[in-house]
Amino acid sequence: MDFQSSELLRFTTAGSVDDGKSTLIGRMLYDSKSIYQDQMEAIEASSLRRGESEVNLALLTDGLKSEREQGITIDVAYRYFSTPKRKFIIADTPGHIQYTRNMVTGASTANVALVLIDARNGVVEQTKRHAIIASLLQIPHLVVCINKMDLVDYNETIYENIKEDFEKFAAKLDVKDVHFIPVSALKGDNIVNRSEQTPWYEGPTLMYYLENVHIASDHNFIDSRFPVQYVIRPNTDKFHDYRGYAGRIAGGIMKKGDKVVVLPSGFSSTIKKIDTIEGELEEAFPPQSVTVLLEDDIDVSRGDMIVRENNQPEVGQDLEVMICWFNEKPLQPRGKYGIMHTTQEARCVIKEVRYRMDINTLHRDQEDIQIKMNDIGRIVIRTTKPLFYDAYRKNRITGSIILIDEGTNETVGAGMII
């Protein structure tokens, strides 16, 4: 069956209110025949009721009542479509309200960031902000769609100028793979089908790009990291002494027979078996969920990490973190928060705010360092117990944390370890 070889690609979209982001998504769903007849009929009826002349494809993604009333996207919405080659998950994030919070959320798991630029306006503040967030969150691939080409007569010079502007700006960022496409989401140019209006453009359509961009090496396959999530002890006659460590591989390849160390205890052992319901595996890799059994009977519990003897993560209680703040109550210097990191939980104190970053200019403000909702800044924290971590640049799973307000239990911040 051919679906068994199809890959999963997650991408995030960001755009300002009028960039035509929802139209673009609507177009991809529509042209790839992922919109159903009853959905189409429902949005046709709503568009008519709202007195709109054309079918408003944005209504496909704006699902909540208040979103439809205000004509804006409030929260991250997840959309799905597939082609014979790949299955796609879109994290559609609003460009205005709580943009940082939503963009960061969508970006945290994405392989590709899709940035939209209105060809009439060129690179604006929001474009920069989106690119900065994509770079901070280390989204491996960036595709820049220069949209509304139909409104600038498919002018090549306009496209080239915007491209140059963006490249100049992106040189300051940590993005490796950037690609540009001239499109019109409204007319469907270069989305799924090649446009006859842009003979000067020789690159792929957006859909072709998304179907073919190389994502197989987006995971870290070098540094073995296995955060223990849950201990499986069946206590049945058949599996009397079974003690399996369940978890999802966060990095590297784990093989039967590997010499490993368990953190924090530091005890050494050997991987006896990598188990699944279908039987044993010789090796396992990210992002597989498996159960690991060790040769020696040592104490291992949730929050511990199994790593290779000769390749260990950092261990420490003092961390430098880039933090994105999500809560109306600003980050409290000297304040205490709950912290989640891989499968570990601890508490931490904010020791210092080094600077607040202006996410439109990358300027580091060391004077006004209050980190408010939707701000990003660099902080120093100290945790109540050691964490086993890597720099976020090296591993997105072992390098990320969230902070939790201990009074309300809300997730108030997301951090990337430097």
């Binding site: 199809s6 798991t109 049945t236 969920s289 990191h341 990320s400 239990n409």
Partner: protein, 300 residues
């Protein structure tokens, strides 16, 4: 060796991660089992997640009393086979106790009454996490749902104030009396579910496959002829080859004309269909935001 997972294995791994996270973070979780393919998938994934141990939480079926008999037969056989504990929350009981009033008329459905029976069952069992098989592709309000969805002490959902979810980090912290709804298969589409069930050769209730059944048409939807649905005088019962795309209560589950008698046939049909699976659910058609409205008060 080529280190990459196909999309079904990646979804499987994500769901197993969530299921294990629930077992680790909550004291008393429960898996909501409706007898439909999504909850069958959930039980199947839970078996994988905890193998060789048993699933470390019970199954909860909210019984409207208006079931297809095939659903109940399948449920009981499955529970027996995997050695799970089954809890049944009854809508009939909620009606008898006077907690809810039954809808009247031709389109009466116990669907919305399920919420009361569900919240009652959750409260009685003191469950702090209820696992559900809802998917984001099903319905536009569900597209905004989190994996770990916080509910206040009244079981209400506040879509505008949800906790952000990043990376692999799921915050299940709550105050006393609050609970979570957890949706491990959020990222699966209808097609993914069928492809996976086919790949894994999972046994399914006969209702999903095309069979001869007495049906009648109402508002463009085919409904199964049943003692629970009063018919209008002009509504004529005929026998047709049909199958269910979703399985809910008899009163609101539309059936589809189909000749798909095998799972491959179903995949073919789902891949080429032009109607969403909930297109046959009369409960969703009551208004543009009926799902969001029901979810806010505690429906799942």
């Amino acid at each position: 060796m080529d280190y990459h997972l196909n999309h079904l294995r990646e979804l499987e791994s994500e769901s197993i991660f969530i299921l294990r996270e629930v077992a680790a973070q909550f004291e008393n979780p429960v898996l909501m089992f409706s007898g439909g393919k999504d909850s069958i998938l959930m039980v199947y994934l839970a078996q994988k997640a905890f193998y060789p141990a048993r699933i470390p939480f019970p199954l909860l079926h909210v019984d409207t009393g208006h079931n297809f008999k095939e659903t109940i037969e399948y449920r009981d056989a499955m529970v027996e086979r995997i050695g799970a504990r089954l809890i049944v929350g009854s809508v009939q009981e909620a009606i008898d106790k006077g907690m809810v009033t039954e809808e009247k008329g031709f389109n009466a459905s116990r669907n919305s009454l399920q919420t009361v029976a569900l919240l009652e069952a959750l409260e009685q069992g003191k469950y702090d996490a209820a696992l559900g098989g809802a998917r984001r592709d099903e319905e536009k309000a569900r597209a905004k749902e989190r994996f770990f969805s916080h509910r206040d002490e009244f079981g209400q959902w506040d879509p505008k104030n949800q906790r952000p979810e990043l990376w692999n980090l799921f915050n299940g912290k709550k105050q006393f009396g609050e609970h979570f709804r957890i949706f491990p298969i959020s990222n699966w589409t209808e097609l993914d579910v069928w492809q996976y069930l086919a790949m894994e050769k999972v046994e399914l209730p006969s209702l999903y496959f095309a069979h001869k059944r007495k049906v009648f048409e109402r508002d463009g939807t085919l409904l199964a002829d049943s003692e629970f649905i009063p018919k209008k005088p002009h509504e004529e019962v005929k026998e047709m080859m049909v199958r269910c795309r979703t399985i809910g209560d008899v009163t609101c589950t539309g059936v589809w004309q189909s000749n798909a008698t095998t799972i491959e046939g179903i995949i073919e049909e789902v891949a080429t269909t032009r109607m969403t699976e909930r297109g046959g659910r009369t409960d969703d058609k009551r208004s543009e935001t009926s799902m969001e409205d029901r979810k806010k008060t505690g429906y799942f």
